[in-house]
Amino acid sequence: MLEHNDDLLRIENLSKFFSVSSGLFTRPFQLKALQDISFTVKRGETLGIVGESGCGKSTLGRCILQLLSPDEGRVLWLGEDIARLPEEQMRLRRRDLQIIFQDPLASLNPRMTVGEIIADPLRTLMPEVDAKGRRERVIKAMEAVGLLPEMINRYPHEFSGGQAQRIGIARALITEPKLIVCDEPVSALDVSVQAQIVNLLSDLKQQFGLTLVFISHNLSVVRHVSDRILVLYLGRVVELASGDDLYADPRHPYTRALLTAVPIPDPRRARQRTIDGLVGEIPSPINPPSGCTFRTRCRHAVALCADKRPPLETVDGGRLVACHRWRELAVTAAQ
């Protein structure tokens, strides 16, 4: 059962629906944000979650932390289902599960000082720590993320985006969590600062023995930080593989299209390569296509794809792919 112990977090058949009402007298309809998602996060790894807008990646991050409660399925944290826990009991687990947000300034309360913001989770999650202990932890957390502790009494608006993101990271670290969900942590930052934050996260992961779930639309960044990568399309898992496998040999046509669409900062290669130009844009999740949701943009779609939803198959020892035709396509890709 060693393998089982490695699983810090296991998601089983998770679904999340939102009801959207368009008017007072029309029946609200359901937006299926996530459907039948299953995966595990192993202790000490970084799991990347990629997908384009509307694929449900942020919703998934919030379902892991129970900031949104899933409608179906289980969220097993250390073997215990936390999806149905009452909030008082969930609170006891929150010190292990933290989050970093996309918009660094919007994620900091503008009326509180940096010290108050970073210490805030301690007040409810670790009431046993007194004011002095809180201050000492805040200082250590600030040093860990590369902020000068002298800034403890300043306010968020006095900081730039990169520094504000460091404050957000310090707040996530303060309870010494086991897992941190990073929801697009560098998307709003300047390029040179992005790289600093990416490095900081990997340093902190080493230093504190963290496990990370790294959500981003930027495949280059995800590739850089992740051990394994989960690809989402319209609320479903289309592929899950180790980073190297996924980039070297993508099995799902969507993954392949995504990878060729990523801009490469290398002019000669950028000119040479052919982009697997996906036609059109992502369909609305309110009314997704029948069968395989990707078929409307897929060059390889056949009649079967419209009729039947492809199951998520386990292939090559541990990889997951959801495509009817992945075998044939793998052969053509190899030729």
């Binding site: 990169g162 992005q194 639309h217 495949l219 995504l258 990878l259 996906l278």
Partner: protein, 328 residues
């Protein structure tokens, strides 16, 4: 090749409560007909403000000085009503968020036809046909149907295509695109960049691509200009700057950009933060973050000088090889 735009000593200043802030200083460059030039920089580098100034679209507290010659006319300091004769006709601009430039209460066809009626004196029905044709050329499926839609009924990528169609209606000599793909998904971004490539070839339009993403630059641009603290720090062809950067900032940007095909153990970012324009460092504005700095950098500002007597230029005091230092 002839130059369609020649900018000379462009300065942009903004009057704030207490002080004047210089967003762009001594910017000079020229744009040849049909070429694609990328302008790369981080927030506060002045990359957008420089081109807003050329378009006469600065915020009210902004002031531009210098020259921007569009053929024989100088756009800087020209009153708005005279600028309107050139804006949209000879030089057009598109933005990151298309909704800011589309009127939400007018149908796509109406808005686009208006441009033709005003600038080219088209009859309304002829303008309508030209609009449909243009929508088709920018890759909008079912252009007749989409033309009768309101902007909010279109997806982000469609809106950006509509903006491009609108910008190209009068066959401008220059198209300025300010972060045109930043808000789009990668797959749509790829479609959009392909579109830019085919359109510039087809129409012979010179494209200025303002972006922070070096990946976007590599695929599309011929030449690039790197800006920092309101100044151009390095300029040259894309290949020159990517494979042989001569300014430490360009090098740092390249090292900061993760590459999808490589998994380096660590990125090698530039230290520190982009400077605030209100408190630009003395001497070379990049010196606080530069690994190659020495005494001169603190005191004196380097000029943008030609490199190897060629067309490329850089503004840096350091004479050694950047590559060598990196190995050591």
């Amino acid at each position: 090749m002839t130059n369609v735009l020649v900018v000379d000593d462009l300065d942009v200043t903004f009057a704030l409560h207490q002080a004047e802030v210089k967003a762009v200083s001594d910017l000079s460059f020229s744009l040849a007909a049909g070429e694609t030039m990328a302008v790369v920089g981080e927030s506060g580098s002045g990359k957008s403000q420089a081109f807003l100034a050329i378009m006469g679209l600065l915020a009210r507290n902004g002031r531009a000085a210098g020259r921007a010659m569009l053929g024989e006319v100088d756009l800087i300091g020209m009153p708005g009503d005279r600028l309107d004769a050139y804006r949209g006709k000879d030089i057009a601009m598109i933005f990151q968020d298309p909704m800011t430039s589309l009127n939400p209460s007018l149908k796509v066809r109406t808005q686009l036809a208006e441009v033709l009626v005003r600038h080219q004196g088209f009859a309304p029905d002829k303008a309508g046909r030209a609009v449909i044709e243009m929508l088709e050329r920018v890759g909008i499926p079912e252009p007749v149907k989409r033309a009768s839609a309101y902007p909010h009924e279109l997806s982000g990528g469609m809106r950006q295509r509509v903006m491009i169609a609108m910008a190209l209606l009068c066959r401008p000599k220059i198209l300025i695109a300010d972060e045109p793909t930043t808000a789009l998904d990668v797959t749509v971004q790829a479609q959009m960049l392909e579109l830019f490539k085919t359109l510039t070839d087809e129409f012979g339009t010179a494209l200025v691509l303002i972006t922070h993403d070096l990946g976007v630059v590599a695929g599309v641009a011929d030449r690039m200009m790197v800006m920092y603290g309101g100044r151009c720090v390095e300029t040259g062809t894309v290949d020159e700057l990517f494979y042989d950067p001569r300014h430490p900032y360009t090098l740092g940007l390249l090292h900061s950009t993760p590459h999808v095909a490589k998994r380096a153990q660590r990125l090698d970012p530039i230290q520190g933060l982009p400077p605030s324009l209100e408190r630009l460092p003395s001497g070379c504005a990049f010196h606080p973050r530069c690994a190659f700095r020495f005494e001169t950098c603190f005191a004196e500002r380097p000029q943008l000088l030609p490199v190897d007597g060629g067309a490329r230029g850089r503004a840096c005091w350091y004479q050694g090889s950047l590559k060598h230092e990196e190995v050591a």
